[in-house]
């Protein structure tokens, strides 16, 4: 069970959150071609190491949060609100 420190609510169990995927992808503009939208929807780097992810505190404050999580150790190093930015440490 992960414990995720919500900036609004404090540390809560993972069960209160829903995972919403890679937070580094950006939506192509309206003029983006089909390949750009394909990559946006399906292509992920799937790193072995640090990843910035969306987690929604669905059963708490309902906020979308950016979480810096290590995909091997599951360590959570930082959490910010949706407009915040997170630096990804090397490996």
């Amino acid at each position: 069970m992960l414990r995720i420190p919500c900036p609004h609510c404090g540390a809560r169990d993972e069960a209160e959150f829903s995972y919403r995927g890679d937070a580094t992808v950006t939506r192509p503009g309206a003029d983006g071609d089909i390949a750009a939208f394909h990559d946006y929807l399906y292509t992920r780097t799937n790193p072995r190491g640090w990843q910035v992810e969306w987690w929604q505190h669905a059963a708490g404050c309902r906020a979308f949060l950016k979480v810096l999580r290590h995909t091997v150790t599951h360590e959570i190093r930082a959490v910010v609100t949706a407009t915040g930015t997170l630096e990804v440490p090397p490996a």
Binding site: H8, C9, G10, R12, A15, E16, A59, G60, C61, A63
Partner: protein, 197 residues
């Protein structure tokens, strides 16, 4: 012709009296009838909304994790820029109308009086019983009067608001999920005994 008083969502299962094990310190359960409205600040108007809440309701909008009480209303922080206002049940829609008038242009107001219901639990057994399904630490060192938190208990979204040191916890759930939630509460309280008032 006036509208009939709506049936309480727990009318079919909350039978007043003693339930579960005998004992002299049962979990006390009451069903306060409340009107509730969700108040959602418009972007950039939080300060003006706080001022309007002070003027119209006599309360300071609480920060995250907290609640504020005035003589005739309470406000509980539920998410960034959102508060749940509650008052004793009055005329249908009156609290929503009062909030909509006070917060015109500053916040959206959604009447939740029929959508949610509140179950108050109290007594020495309250923390022990809630701990059987609540993931939050409700020990006095971590929680206390005036604190509030949204979480899940028995898979049901639940807003917990501690109103008193006794302790008294007010549990606000969606009305449609109040029955299964109440069944969980009865199960969790069975070994301490439950007194429904």
């Amino acid at each position: 012709m006036s509208a009939p008083e709506p049936t309480h969502p727990l009318a079919a299962c909350a039978t007043p009296g003693r339930h579960g094990a005998p004992g002299d310190a049962p979990l006390r359960v009451t069903l306060p009838r409340r009107d509730m409205v969700q108040v959602m600040a418009r972007r950039g108007r939080e300060d003006a909304l706080a001022e309007a809440a002070r003027a119209a309701f006599g309360l300071a909008l609480p920060p995250a994790g907290q609640a504020a009480a005035a003589p005739d209303a309470t406000a509980v922080w539920i998410q960034p820029g959102h508060w749940l206002f509650a008052a004793p049940r009055g005329m249908e829609g009156a609290l929503a109308a009062r909030a909509a008038a006070a917060f015109a242009g500053l916040a959206a107001v959604a009447d939740q009086s029929h959508g949610r219901t509140t179950i108050a639990v109290s007594g020495p057994a309250a923390r022990r019983v809630l701990a059987r399904g609540c993931r939050l630490d409700l020990h006095p060192r971590a929680f206390g009067p005036g604190r509030a938190a949204a979480t899940q208990i028995a898979h049901v979204g639940c807003l917990i608001h501690q109103t008193d040191e006794a302790p008294v916890f007010e549990l606000t759930v969606f009305a449609t999920l109040a029955e299964p939630f109440f069944h969980w509460l009865m199960e969790a309280g069975a070994q301490d005994g439950v007194l429904i008032e």
